[in-house]
């Protein structure tokens, strides 16, 4: 049993994020469409076709720890976001892969990090991003027979109650009541909630 | 005093039932169960004789102990054989196992 992980992983020299970015660009520069260094974090935008290669490269240069895979819906396109870090230094990599909304397919990274399995399932479940080569791509949080991908911005559901700001309902009721039947309005109103005590 | 023949007849009935079961049941475990019944019928006879013929110095009971021992050994090995059969043939129905037939 290795006492420390460094026995297995290629020892990663303490590098600045700029150096990491430079190295990445040198090796697989054509896949990176956009890059930025923010603090200790290297932020990359990567072509979807080459996302897997970039992920493996990033893993191989020391970012062996997959924090999170999340999705985001930018209306024009979807985005799969990989947050990677290392257990040996503080640098992080923030990898964004824009994918097409209608035909959203990304190659799975479960063969790089087994832990990606559930993250990708969740992303599929909530955003409908299909991960090519995923061993078990099923819905995970929602029931198997759920229709639609709820975290997309255009997701609608008749069961979804639109949210109104605090106090909005009373205001609306008041406005309506004043217009239609000013006498009954007061009885319709719920008792005003007690103001929370503040320090 | 219950006549000795009562016990002997009862033993005979149970033995015959066991014989019938051993001859007819398809399940090998059921056959083993029937054989246990037969041995029990025999034991009943032994013990009845031991009770009614005290001059035999309880030989019947001693024999019954040995019979029970043998029955236990038979059950242990017999069931192990049944398990072996099951492993090879995926069944314990003896009429489907025709290894020795040609």
């Amino acid at each position: 049993m290795p006492k420390c992980l460094s026995a297995r992983l290629p020892w990663f020299e303490e590098m600045t994020p700029e150096e990491i970015l430079g190295q990445l660009k040198q090796k697989i520069g054509d896949a990176i469409t956009q890059s930025e260094v923010k603090g200790i974090e290297v932020r990359l935008t990567v072509k979807p076709e080459q996302s897997w290669e970039v992920c493996r490269l990033v893993r191989d240069i020391g970012f062996e720890y997959l924090n999170c895979i999340s999705g985001a819906d930018w209306m024009t396109h979807l985005e799969v976001v990989y947050d990677l870090s290392s257990l040996q230094h503080l640098n992080k990599v923030h990898l964004r892969v824009p994918v097409d909304r209608d035909n959203s397919v990304v190659r799975t990274v479960t063969d790089i990090w087994r832990g990606a399995n559930w993250h990708e399932r969740e992303c599929y479940d909530l955003f409908g991003v299909r991960f090519d080569g995923h061993p078990d791509l099923r819905r995970i949080l929602l029931p198997e027979d759920w229709v639609g991908y709820p975290l997309r911005k255009d997701y609608t559901d008749e069961r979804l109650v639109p949210y109104t700001e605090y106090g909005m309902e009373e205001k609306l009721a008041k406005a309506e009541g004043e217009k239609a039947a000013p006498k009954d309005a007061k009885s319709l109103q719920p008792p005003a909630p007690a103001k929370p005590a503040t320090a | 005093m219950i006549p000795l023949s009562h016990y002997l007849i009862l033993g005979g009935i149970i033995f015959s039932l066991g014989v019938f079961g051993a001859l007819t049941r398809r399940n090998a475990i059921a056959i083993l169960m029937s054989i246990e019944l037969m041995l029990n019928g025999v034991n009943l006879n032994f013990i009845a004789f031991a009770r009614y013929l005290p001059q035999t110095m309880l030989q019947g009971q001693v024999f019954a102990i040995f019979v029970i021992t043998v029955a236990a050994a038979e059950a242990v090995v017999g069931l192990a054989i049944v398990l072996g059969l099951y492993r090879n043939f995926k069944t314990v129905n003896v009429d489907e196992i025709n290894l020795m037939k040609w």
Partner: protein, 119 residues
């Protein structure tokens, strides 16, 4: 002797009758009885049961029972021996030691062969 065992039979019968009295008579009068298919399903942690509960089991259960029978038969011989061995002296003792010794060989064999292992 046999009269003593009349009590055993009587106790057994009364024990069973007690259960019947409680379940089928006393409780039946006062308890509700309205089953429905949902209630009558087999419990499997709130999910529909997968398959039946009567499933095949592993041979290791069988091996324990097997070794047990051999030793249970041995105790059958040990009890009469335990009562009389003092009057029969050293010979009876040695006899039983041989008996136990042979069986212990069997135990050692079972141990060695892993019949006593769970795995």
């Amino acid at each position: 002797m046999a009269a003593d065992y009349a009590y055993v039979g009587f106790f057994l019968v009364v024990g069973v009758l007690f259960v019947i009295l409680n379940i089928e008579v006393l409780s039946r009068i006062i308890r509700p009885h309205n089953p429905n298919p949902q209630k009558l399903t087999t419990y499997e942690c709130g999910e529909e049961p997968i398959g039946i509960g009567w499933i095949r089991f592993h041979v290791r259960y069988y091996l324990y029972a097997l070794v047990y029978i051999v030793f249970a038969v041995e105790t059958v011989f040990l009890f009469p021996w335990a009562i009389v061995f003092r009057e029969l002296g050293m010979f009876a003792f040695l006899e039983m030691m041989v008996f136990i010794g042979i069986l212990l060989v069997g135990l050692a064999y079972a141990w060695k062969k892993g019949a006593l292992e769970w795995a």
